[in-house]
Symmetry: C2
Subunit: 270 residues, 2 copies
Amino acid sequence: MSASVDRYRVRPGQRFRLADCDPEDNSTFDGEREAAEAEFAALNDRLEALQELLHAEGRHRVLVVLQAMDTGGKDGVIRKVFEGVNPTGVRVASFKVPTAPEMARDYLWRAHQQVPANGELVIFNRSHYEDLLVVRVHELAPEKRWRRRFDHIQAWEQMLADEGTTIVKFFLHISKDEQRQRLQDRLDDPEKRWKFSLGDLKERERWHDYQAAYEEVIDRTSTDSAPWYVIPANRKWYRDLVICRILVATLESLDMTFPQPADLTGVVVT
Amino acid sequence: MSASVDRYRVRPGQRFRLADCDPEDNSTFDGEREAAEAEFAALNDRLEALQELLHAEGRHRVLVVLQAMDTGGKDGVIRKVFEGVNPTGVRVASFKVPTAPEMARDYLWRAHQQVPANGELVIFNRSHYEDLLVVRVHELAPEKRWRRRFDHIQAWEQMLADEGTTIVKFFLHISKDEQRQRLQDRLDDPEKRWKFSLGDLKERERWHDYQAAYEEVIDRTSTDSAPWYVIPANRKWYRDLVICRILVATLESLDMTFPQPADLTGVVVT
């Protein structure tokens, strides 16, 4: 399990290159597909138990950031990895095109509103990082302005961590060819077509700009308090397995315990 | 006007001492009481006009932070200085004892929710600084934890400023003797007694702890982007005059203009 954590975690202070990461990599699992499924099922049960404990203990807050290129698998991860958790303690916050009230304030305003409370696990489906990705690629703000956001975001995440939030950030890394295949599948499958938009093809033309933007984001904002994990995501089973391993390891590191009630000796329910 | 701005602004990089500030000071106004009232009335009109322009232009956001010891005059400033402004574009956010949802998250969460939108002026009646004041004096968090908040707050305010918020912070500086007088007045006046609580006397016992906490807060968090102004506040007329001068100077520095509509030549309303 820790092999995945170590291998895909981006260490601060080392120059990170996306080119060094193979989206096809499955090197931390050695075995048959069935064995992978069995491990995933066991980890998934463990994740559910840990999330229940997080909720019961009510002391920690967990923020999971999901970023990826279009078709990278954010929705798939949410469905597959988190399908069994208790919705009372888990919330998905999706960040789409900013609304008028969001545009009228700083870009961290909407993200800050959605941070987890004690005992909560919140998944950011896209995040404040879009303000360093789509904003950069489409030049929605001058470079002088978005460049400062590396510092803002690092400081903001550090504040969240100092005040008791555990942060894990996943970049689901697919290849350009895998994206082509997945977009084509969406077009061809009547039940997937609703997820396709012509805008996706426009965005695909900027593939290299986005990859460069991601590379710098990951390089500059992976910290000890809020690490990025770059997950090989061409193979969905491997992507889900690795993410599940990392989440379980992260939650186990919190050393949570069920709250001890006061001495109940002799208490009888009548 | 700029004499007040310069004299009471705390410059970063110089060691700030509260003992150097006289709560009785009225050195930037030389004249009769009536002349002060006339100047205040004129400034107040100007402030109203500038706030209207802020709202009409809808480009800038203004955050005014008010901090003071009990009876220091926060409510008085809000009533007197802002009484004529248009409530559509002005909002007071009061930060009291944190609620349960606020306690379950980081201390900046509730402050961030209340920041001004484009065209808005928001007054923080108490603020995120309480998490470095009351929390410190009453040891509500370990020192290791609150000490980090100097950096958090500086970074957060810098982010707000970088993204277009103009920040001015006022500390209303009264003497311990003036506080005694004002608390006694509250006790003696049936229409003021509702503002008195026995807790105020408990807090008064910590006067020196609070003054020390304020001194460090002001010393460490007065920046070019989010300056502190330490306002002599024993004399209410002088306090209000100086604050009004600083607000007018701040809003004038934004160089606002009414939006220019498209060419309306020949347009007739029928």
